[in-house]
Amino acid sequence: MSGAEKIAVIVTDIVPLNDLVTRFEFKPIDGGLLPTFSGGAHTVVEMQDGDITRLNPYSLMSDPMDQTAYAISVRRDDEGRGGSLFMHRNVKVGDKMTISYPVNLFSLDLRAKKHLFLAGGIGITPFLAQIKQLERLGGNWELHYACRSESLGSYVDELTSHHPNETHIYYDDQDQKIDLLNLLDGQPLGTHVYVCGPKGMINWVRQTAEGEGWPREAIHYEEFLAPQPGKPFEVKLAVSNKVIQVGENESLLEAIEREGVDAPYLCRGGACGQCETRVIDYTGNFIHRDHWLEDDEHASGEKIMPCVSRFEGKTLVLDR
């Protein structure tokens, strides 16, 4: 069986926060305790959407030490393939669902003298758990959080009332911007910077910090990609001896799973490397979207990350 261990849960609370974001709370069906976790961890939520099984990763945002319940916040993506829409429209309090054990690909570096958090939009969620963890451990942190507008500022009130000295909010529609150069310049030695948000923000922070001479090991980022729809294509799975069709609105990984072939995965967002698959033969073009493989590996035509990447062309044969 692929992926992390599973937990059977029941949806115990659903709280709409604003026009786009809704919080979901899960408790174990058996009434027991959930595993503790480390701030930055995510869980993969299984959604039974008619004939389709959707598996989407969401950052755990509840207190890592609270074993009674987990919480996630889901931003509705009207252009996406339907996972967030399913959560918003179909999931009700009392529903039974399956989630994975926590997996952390965005862990705190506990050597840091200070943790500098930069969040954009829904990218706030992993930091909410990390902040709760650091508050318990007496860690030194500071948050800079950019939101589109006051009305879309999820958890802004909670953060500014509990942590007024550590929290700094920026609203795009009021032309407020993080003064990144000055912010980085003023940090004490031993500070680690963490960024979670849209791709443009992640690139901006990484490039600026590297340009200012920050060590690569002190710059942490997490970006989960949602698989994008695309043209249907055909794939031959050499080991399982199957020819499968990948539909417009499913990922290559989902199509492999639909055909009953067990393929490894963890994050399903192009970040963890677990689903890396060897290409045996191809005629056509890859649409690589992960940030696991290096550029030269993308160009080589020898590997593909089926969770987010696609293919256009005549023949694709995979070692699966």
Binding site: F37, L110, Q133
Partner: protein, 355 residues
């Protein structure tokens, strides 16, 4: 199940011994008649009843004596236990993992009573009954990792995970096969494995690291490793090589059956929840050649493995000089009959020695 703890030593008079039960459950490491490195990992979720795989942390007849030996090693050399400052949280994770596992798996020997962060820990074999506050270092006589690993058999490496690598940033290491925590502390996975021959060329460590980085909460893994030790010594450290290295020259055809031990490490790997660190317990089992030969399958197989082992490995494992004497002894127990696959002794089905 009640365990009768042996009154025995791993030094001086070497009164260590294995009972008949301990011999039967010895983790013989060779699943076929030859040996080469592999990433021989499997899930660590129980195993055959009374095997060393059954519980998360195996407790056996050597428990009390091993903990006494550890205390003596630490009294002589406190640097056998080290934890860099950022690893304290991982130490608490480990304390919780061991206390919960042992109290659930051996309720007659260990008890854990939790009321919020107020914890009471009862260790009957060692006569300990302590109350402390979870995550408050000041309420324990040692740091959390040292406290619990003074009460758990085997060495413990607590590895920080960052920059797509593992870092030897904490550990309790007193029963090791000739490596030093004090030397390796702070090193990454490739640095501390640098002395191992052949495996780098085979790409073993790149694949092993990839596997370990992906070990997740709730899904621990395990493997076996092995070497050879003359006399039942737990502490075969580089720090004390001047004491034990010379003992390898005391082997004679007359004493080899009782003096020469196969040393097997049951290595397990658990993801720690709060710290996201990885703990790597290395549990050492010793068995004399003479006791191993009571299982005909093991006698036949050990002879073939030692005979055919590449010179580099016999040198690295430290028994190249004694190999001819070992083979003289072991060949008496190899009649050329085939052996069944797998590590279990198969006492009911393997034919007795045909000589």
């Amino acid at each position: 199940m009640t365990i009768q703890f042996n009154d025995e030593t791993f030094r001086d008079d070497y009164s260590f011994y294995n009972s008949e039960r301990a011999i039967k459950r010895f983790p013989f490491p060779f699943h076929e008649d030859s040996y080469m490195y592999s990433v021989n990992m499997e899930q660590h979720r129980g195993g055959p009843m009374d095997s060393v795989y059954e519980k998360r942390f195996d407790v056996d007849e050597h428990y009390v004596a091993e903990m006494k030996d550890r205390a003596m090693v630490l009294a002589d050399d406190p640097l056998r236990c080290q934890s860099l400052p950022h690893m304290t949280l991982a130490g608490w994770d480990l304390l919780e993992l061991i206390m919960v596992s042992k109290s659930e798996d051996y309720p007659d020997l260990f008890e854990l009573h939790r009321d919020g962060n107020k914890w009471r820990w009862v260790n009957k074999p060692l006569g300990i009954d302590d109350t402390f506050t979870f995550l408050d270092d000041t309420t324990l006589p040692y740091g959390p990792m040292e406290y619990i690993t003074r009460q758990a058999q085997g060495d413990f490496c607590v590895l920080d995970q960052r920059d797509d690598n593992l870092w030897m940033d904490a550990g309790m290491v007193t029963t090791q096969a000739d490596w030093s925590l004090d030397f390796d502390i702070g090193m990454n996975f490739f640095e501390w494995h640098a002395p191992v021959p052949l495996a780098h060329e085979k790409g073993i460590f790149v694949r092993a690291l990839k596997f370990l980085l992906n070990i997740q909460q709730g899904a621990p893994a395990r493997r076996l490793n092995w070497t050879m030790t003359v006399n039942p010594l737990l502490d075969t450290s580089p720090e004390n090589y001047h004491k034990w290295g010379i003992q390898k020259t005391t082997l004679t055809p007359e004493n080899i059956g009782t003096k020469q031990h196969l040393r097997v490490e049951l290595q397990t790997f658990f993801r720690l929840p709060r710290s996201n660190a990885l703990v790597f317990p290395i549990r050492c089992y010793l068995c004399s050649f003479q006791d191993l030969m009571t299982a005909p399958k093991w006698g036949r197989r050990l002879h073939r493995v030692i005979r055919d082992l590449p010179v580099e490995l016999a040198t690295y494992k430290g028994f190249i000089d004694n190999r001819p004497m070992m083979l003289d002894y072991l060949s008496q127990f190899d009649d050329g009959l085939p052996t069944s696959p797998g590590i279990w002794p198969d006492l009911d089905t393997e034919p007795s020695l045909q000589k």
